[in-house]
């Protein structure tokens, strides 16, 4: 249980870009239900050891969430994760074709959220009193959809499918002197019992946004009771008719639950 009365139930679904090699899936996610923190990341395909980098970032975002609005805190946090990534690689065992990529490092998007108690006021309705504070930070093209009564009430940080046609910003595992260009998006939203929080990586997000824009929004709750294998078959079918990009695909569903 969270510190207040909101609880979180969740489902996860993953399908690698190349289903025959699931171990090469460069998406990562981590959830701490007790503390209401969730993170999702997407390693950049052409980098080296991006899968490890994505996992390092999601683990750290949940265990020790940074504050991107505090530059010093963010810089220190990023430096620690870079050190972890660097220590995890034995450069002496790399082939000649891996060494050039190692100099550039790995890249990954990152989105993390936390459900916090919300300050109430005497003017709040009975429903508002039950609400929590959904805070989030994102860099890149991981997406959140907040679903209430079957409809998406908030999209973060991406709002249109066209935004996902461009290469995303990403966190690098090597300091290339470009950290000044990093821009995080911030979310501060009320959530209520009964809400569903959807986190997904870019291929699925773009599909979802296109569906919304064409007047056929996805029914995200439809996946809640679905076996992962069935969901994977649906994604494969979407890939086959090119409705969704062939890319590592991750979907996290979280139900916000209130007091009985």
């Amino acid at each position: 249980m969270l510190k207040h009365d909101l609880a979180l139930d969740w489902r996860d679904f993953m399908l690698a870009k190349d289903p025959e090699f699931p171990e090469q899936n460069q998406d990562a996610w981590r959830i701490d239900v007790q503390r209401g923190i969730v993170a999702i990341a997407d390693g950049v395909a052409l980098g080296l050891f991006c899968r490890q980098w994505a996992r390092i970032l999601t683990d750290a975002a949940v265990e020790d969430p940074p504050d991107p609005q505090d530059a010093a805190d963010m810089a220190g946090w990023l430096a620690r994760q870079r050190e972890t990534w660097s220590r995890s690689i034995d450069a002496s065992r790399l082939a000649w074709y891996q060494k050039p990529k190692l100099r550039e490092g790995a890249f990954s998007t990152l989105l993390w959220i936390r459900i916090l108690p919300r300050e109430t006021s005497p003017a709040d309705s009975a429903a508002e009193v039950c609400g929590g504070r959904l805070c989030g930070h994102a860099i890149g093209d991981g997406c959140l959809f907040l679903v209430r009564d079957g409809a998406v009430v908030r999209r973060f940080p991406i709002e249109s499918a066209a935004e996902l046609d461009n290469p995303p910003l990403a966190l690098g595992s090597v300091d290339l002197g470009r950290d000044g260009l990093l821009r995080f998006e911030h979310l501060d939203q009320t959530c209520y019992p009964g809400d569903m929080i959807v986190l997904c990586t870019d291929a699925l997000a773009q599909w979802g946004l296109r569906q919304e824009e064409s007047g056929q929004p996805p029914q995200w709750e439809h996946y809640w009771n679905m076996p992962e294998e069935t969901w994977q078959e649906e994604i494969l079918a979407l890939r086959a008719d090119r409705s969704i990009r062939r890319d590592d695909t991750t979907l996290l569903l979280m139900r916000v639950e209130g007091p009985a």
Binding site: K17, D18, E20, Q24, L46, L48, F49, C50, R51, Q52, A95, W96, Y97, Q98, K99, P100, K101, D241, R242, S243, R246
Partner: protein, 288 residues
């Protein structure tokens, strides 16, 4: 949902194919453009550089993804005028007509060490750094130019590959030569190659002409008019019309490409050659 041609993603299941056809005739010993370097030396450097970049690009945590087959052929004649048309890869891959990019990365013929000057990360001053340079092909310049026979053999190789990969992005053939065919009219053989296709589109035949003159290079002409000579017109006729993704990429790279532009470079120098080689890979989905 139907999709446009030349849009198939490149993956393990739908591999790409790049085939290089290298003129190894005697005239390749001449200097390239204004450079003092021989055409054959510059060509070998460009091909080795391309293979190196492709191996790096395809590399991942567990090695090199097997998403591309590569062939490198050389053609010339011996002292008696007999054709020598054979794979040009050396070392462990010698004699192999097509190899996966995985094998390219794992089996260079040798790794040379080259000194490069790069700026120091600490001081910004230029410092000497030894760099590893993998080598798969060496320069060759001897004999005549059996271009038609080379194209005939390429047709057979590509036909076989397409039978095994009917839904892949179409093979891209890059033919690099410095002169005329000496065994007939190559346009007929080139046309046969261009008529091969996968479900994603026709094979693309790109022709690059290397010159010893200092004449200005030009790329992607859209018309036979105003081409400087008959050789250029023959290469124009041999070359595929650039499909839309390639045109779009060329425009993004700053080339003035008109509708109907052909995949052709004439009077190419080293810079032009490298740009031309890069063009074929950058425009293909999944290889950017």
């Amino acid at each position: 949902m139907s999709r446009p041609p030349y849009s198939q993603e490149i993956s393990r299941q739908t591999k790409a194919c790049f085939l290089f056809l290298l003129d190894q005739s005697f005239s390749m010993e001449e200097p390239l453009g204004r450079s003092s370097n021989r055409k054959c030396d510059e060509l070998a450097t460009a091909i080795n550089g391309w293979l190196q970049n492709m191996a790096i690009r395809a590399s991942g945590d567990e090695g090199i993804k097997d998403w591309m087959d590569v062939g490198v052929f050389g053609y010339r004649t011996d002292a008696r005028g007999n054709m020598i048309i054979e794979p040009a890869l050396l070392g462990p891959l010698a004699g192999r007509r097509l190899v996966s990019i995985t094998e390219i990365g794992a089996k260079p013929a040798r790794i040379d060490t080259k000194v490069e000057w790069i700026p120091s990360e600490d001081t910004g001053e230029m410092i000497e750094v030894a760099c590893e340079v993998p080598v798969w092909v060496d320069p060759v310049a001897d004999g005549g130019t059996p271009m038609c026979n080379m194209l005939y053999i390429a047709h057979g190789l590509l036909s076989e590959w397409i039978r095994e990969h009917p839904h892949s992005f179409p093979p891209i053939v890059v033919h690099i030569s410095d002169g005329e065919s000496q065994d007939g009219d190559p346009t007929v053989y080139a046309q046969s190659i261009k008529e091969l296709s996968t479900s994603d589109g026709s094979v693309l035949l790109l022709n690059c002409h290397l010159s010893r003159t200092a004449a200005a290079p030009f790329m992607f002409p859209a018309s036979r008019e105003n081409l400087p000579d008959d050789l250029a017109k023959v290469l124009f006729d041999m070359s595929s019309v650039l499909p839309e993704p390639f045109v779009r990429h060329a425009v993004q790279e700053g080339y003035a490409v008109q509708p109907g532009a052909r995949g052709m470079a004439f009077n190419a120098n080293m810079v032009c050659l490298i740009q031309f080689l890069d063009m074929g890979t950058q425009a293909a989905p999944g290889l950017r």
